[in-house]
Amino acid sequence: MGNPRSESNKGDQVKFQEELKDNIRKALPELDVVIGWCGSFDPLHATPHFMRREEDIDKLEISPLSVHNLATYLPGLRGKKVGIVVKGCDSRSVVELLQENLINREDITIFGFPCTGVVDQSKIKKALGGHTGNIEFCDMSESVIVIKSEDKAYTLPMAEMLADKCSSCRYPDAVISDYFAGEKIGNKGEEDADYAAVETFENLSVPERFGYWLKEFDRCIRCYACRNACPLCVCRDHCAAESRDPHWLSQENNVRDKLMFQVIHAYHLAGRCTECGECQRACPVDIPVLMFKQKMNKEIRDTFQYEAGVDPEATPPLLSFKMKEENITEKVW
Amino acid sequence: MNTSLNYAYYPGCSSTGTSIEYDMSSRAVCAALDIKLTDVPDWSCCGSTPAHTVDHSLSSALSARNLDQVASMGLDSCITPCPSCLANLKTAKHRMEDEGFRDKVNNLLDKPANTKIETKSVLQILVEDYGIENIRKKVVKPLTGLVVGAYYGCILNRPAELMQFDDREHPMAMDNIMEALGATVVPFPLKVECCGASFGIPRKDVVMRLSGKLLDTAKSIGAMALVTACPLCQMNLDMRQDQINHANGSHHKIPIFYFTQLLGLALGLTEKELGMNKLCVSPRTLLDFMVNEENIKEKAA
């Protein structure tokens, strides 16, 4: 994890959580709803929490289980006065939605807090031997997660259970907020982006890379959870994946169309994706679909020195141009 | 100014004979300007001898061998006073860009030819690397009163694509140097004309006609002397001046200097170091005249 937690951190967490609740209490009378997280069906999971009344606020829980990017709900609530609790990464999605005029700034109240990372449930599941039924107890400190499941106790190192995006997180604090509870950790810019994983993968041979994806996508069930979880897949019911006009993809069960869809997804997110990782988190068969988007972002950064989700006023690079492109060297024949 | 100019030096075969004064003065001038020259070890003929009309690969192999010698010195560039050598060294490098030709050359060599070494003329590095303004600063004995024309000959900067130096029709490198040395430079209209050197042996009459025209023109524009940068040009105009006069019924007595000789003079080097005594048309009167002019000027000041 990129942001070392001190032992006093847990106390802080309680403190900023109270501060956050106070903030929401102050703002709620003016709002239709505030979205946060609360406990779920078992102690190891959280769930999105829609707060409409004052008493709902008490149930708000911020923890490494607050994995969901709640910005995904915003376009659907357009026209309502909405409050939203955001991690640093979630806030970048809000910025993107604002940039694309898909939500109105005056309708949105943003509650930020210093995020120290969220867990990757797939990693925990793996550590628990592949099944996560009957979780009886879960407690988290800065360094470990203690889980009791079916009479067995597990003590897992937190650092190893964090989502990959958190270990290389550059935006722990919300980049845009109306209220910020707690102390800011400090954000870093696009030049610090770490694409080591992409680069390692690109060092594989051409057939290795191609074969890798064929194998990975072989188990894709075309459920489109990746798309539905994506806060920037704003086409919703009109996704090119399921349309006949334009007819980009067939509805057949073939690996070609599965792969093609991921390229479409990555390209449609070019210059927009904030790498919140929801697509990969949502994938029920654990296909590493985030890599395509990371590669796209790497190219966008290298070519245009641009990063999505930082400035609501910016124009995304593929919707603009320069007469002379400094970083594009065209082929000479 | 680059304070550490350091070059491999390829003298070429004329420097040991007909143009020994060019070699002497080039070395002397470079020493006086703190330009370090290191002779290419065990250098041999560049191949611009009749070889190049008979066998291109042999001619280029000769050049390639010398370029390899330069590489063995750990240097990546080499200079030579002689335009003919320069042209052949450059031509060899250019021809060897073709893979088939390079293979032919490599067959004649003991090891694969080096194709990276850059070559330049002494004139070019003085103008481009050392700089005329820096030369101007070093002048101790200006060439006061000397009216001179600069004659470049036909191969010093042509073909332009190959030689990559100065203007192919209107070079000014030597004109500018002479001006910096305090001489009065008269534009020499025939500065890139042929002196007839390639016909030097079989058709002397051509040389008489072409070189004669150069001398006639020099006289008509009032040049007291010509400066050259080519051993062949210099030889035709200087050594053959008597023959030309004889053939054309003219009475020229125009000293033909290497530009390095006059440059050396202005830098304060001795006539002996510069090989002034090697010239066929004696420059004595002219040299004395310049000294005299300088004295008059100093007195007036």
Binding site: P207, F210, G211, K215, D218, E252, R256, T303, F321, W333 | -
Partner: protein, 154 residues
Amino acid sequence: MPVLTGKELRIVGFLCNWCSYGGADTAGIGRFNQPTDLRIIKVPCSGRIDPLFVVKALMNGADGVLVSGCHPRDCHYAEGNFYARRRLEIMHNFLPIIGYEPERFEYTWVSASEGQRWQQVVTSFTEQIHKLGPAPKILGPEASDTLSLMQAAL
């Protein structure tokens, strides 16, 4: 028709109507011989070319894709090729992650008067694709169909 085995590979070209399609015509009028692999799809402007068409072509079995538009500043629609340049460049650089050599896809600019340039572009691009050889083809519903073939090829 199936590609002529041993002779041709499948190369798809997307050409803008105003410059490059005209340039290809000019090359034809000038009888400038070219390899026969390329099949040209005419689009109004290079800005009309969704880079996903390129991927679609590759995934459907093309061995190479060539895009050509008007030279920068000469776009009939003023700005189309400027957008195209950004989008196609990004897609060009993206391709390796999927497992396509980026050289399978090039974009360039050829004006309606540049018949000779067109001939040169087609010739050297075709050579480039032949040097790479056929692209992997995705066959059948299951990955194993393709993978076993790839294995055999390796």
